[in-house]
Symmetry: C2
Subunit: 355 residues, 2 copies
Amino acid sequence: MKSIPSTSYSVHFNEHCYKELNVYLEASNFSKIFILVDTNTHTHCLPKFLSNIDCDTAFEIIEMEAGEVHKTLETCYQIWKSLSDLDGDRKSLIINLGGGVVTDLGGFVASTFKRGVRFVNVPTSLLSMVDASVGGKTGVDLGTIKNQIGVINFSDMVLVDVSFLETLPAEEMRSGLAEMLKHGLIKDADYWNRLCNLKSLDYSELGGLIHESIIIKNEVVIRDPNEHGERKQLNFGHTLGHAIESYCLDNPAMQTLLHGEAIAAGMIMEGYLSVKTCGLPESALNEIKNTLKSIYGSVDFTENDKSSIIELLKYDKKNSHGQVKYALLESIGSCKIDILVDDNLVNEAFLFYAQ
Amino acid sequence: MKSIPSTSYSVHFNEHCYKELNVYLEASNFSKIFILVDTNTHTHCLPKFLSNIDCDTAFEIIEMEAGEVHKTLETCYQIWKSLSDLDGDRKSLIINLGGGVVTDLGGFVASTFKRGVRFVNVPTSLLSMVDASVGGKTGVDLGTIKNQIGVINFSDMVLVDVSFLETLPAEEMRSGLAEMLKHGLIKDADYWNRLCNLKSLDYSELGGLIHESIIIKNEVVIRDPNEHGERKQLNFGHTLGHAIESYCLDNPAMQTLLHGEAIAAGMIMEGYLSVKTCGLPESALNEIKNTLKSIYGSVDFTENDKSSIIELLKYDKKNSHGQVKYALLESIGSCKIDILVDDNLVNEAFLFYAQ
């Protein structure tokens, strides 16, 4: 698959990505290479990754615990300490080998260590391939508020080797698929239709679709890297989705939701808001709801859950002056931003979702 | 005094600075203003500052403990929590009212909260006026390693009201003077001479000299914001000075050194290295030593202290590939960068300092 050039870096694919990495390492004269892994990618991805690196520079492995609950400042602190203890300096390179937690957190750690060292993202989950590792957003959670602390800073390259998906659990594949579906919903009805007709989530058949999703996201990021306008479209489903995800993360009584599962619920609800405020046809909404529910099932919310989630909306990073702003659909493939929505409609969206 | 334009912001002075601030606040439509103070500036500076603000936007005061030992991630965490609890959003403004700890830490907090909100620096110590608040360096210490975590990011404006110096303790005035002396040593022999002949450190007489120091630093920062070259000159005295400061901070047996006191010791020692490697005349070195010792006295180091400090040099942010690089003087007013120095010479520099 062809490399995708972005703002200041490129996304490279499969076998070709290792050639690009080795050329880059050869040319860069790094003092040391630190590879950040989590407990899963240490076992399942690091051996293959290392077998493809051809370079004389010394390297060290730094391991963090796997999972969203470890996307914290405490984990950053441990990694900054390790980098210091292992003689990391400004000419060090950090390679983030993992899912969205590793690439988001590792990008933040790199961007702030000694006021910034260079880093490379090697996403190993579907979610991080099509979303987290492209676009320069780095960060960690603050308590239950997702990505509250971070910076926008671009990696030197992104390497997408879809064979890492071979060992990814099925629910993680579904989670990543939600972001791909979103790309179709906001930008490309034809792409959405092809994803809807997908027969399996086998990684070997997904390659071309992953490539398309990255192209869609990348084009938005290039036009609006700092999210002043168009990039907000990528938040479709995420305003309610993030609040739902935060709420479930913080409430042991709720089922554990993966990011994509929460975003799928958010997209159905925000689809409803789209009908009410942006003219999305009801038929399109039903298509969205049926497709997403057939893949992700349904989450049960009590009245109490609902009001707590609506309360959490105020922490959404897109908001200001106390107003919650949504990215909503005019049609499948077309999205508007900065839409204000009445609280009543949000209540109705929960009811529609539950039906 | 005339405003000084910088990369993307300006430095404004005295009464004029409040006019500029009020125009800026009026034009910016911030959702809320957070003023970060420490325990000292809350008492001594905030009342005057507030009395000069003319603006309808709601504001909140966030207070941190005063002192370098609080320049930590833990303090950042508390402030990020406060910003979240007080409904801070992306359209919030943070005003850092304090010395170097407040402006460095507050700049980092602002640069990373929700991936970055705007901020204004209002330095209240001599050190932060002539150094910390100009140039975009933000950060916090990691354990005893100074400024190990941070980003380069510029404030929207810097407001220098020298009347805040009225309540600054004499040793803090001396500490700030060290950076002004450094500006003379690396860039301007005439400015150095005038500082050497200074009869008192009364704030009302310092205004013009502060203005000159900011011009010197600002010109360097404009030419090399990311410290790839010329900006490293500003590290003269800081390679050994930072290591000495870190060591004293971590060792209760050592006297407490203010930043400028440590940098003064570092400048004498690095003056010695300058003679040995860059052709600084011995007469200039003696002038530097006599001037700095007459202001800052002398610190006693044991053999053990010395070897521990040399060990700490490896954490210096300017280093890479295990090599310590110095900014050293060719003459008073002229500085070279990236100089490698033999460990033996560093030992000799300690001996020269002790004489």
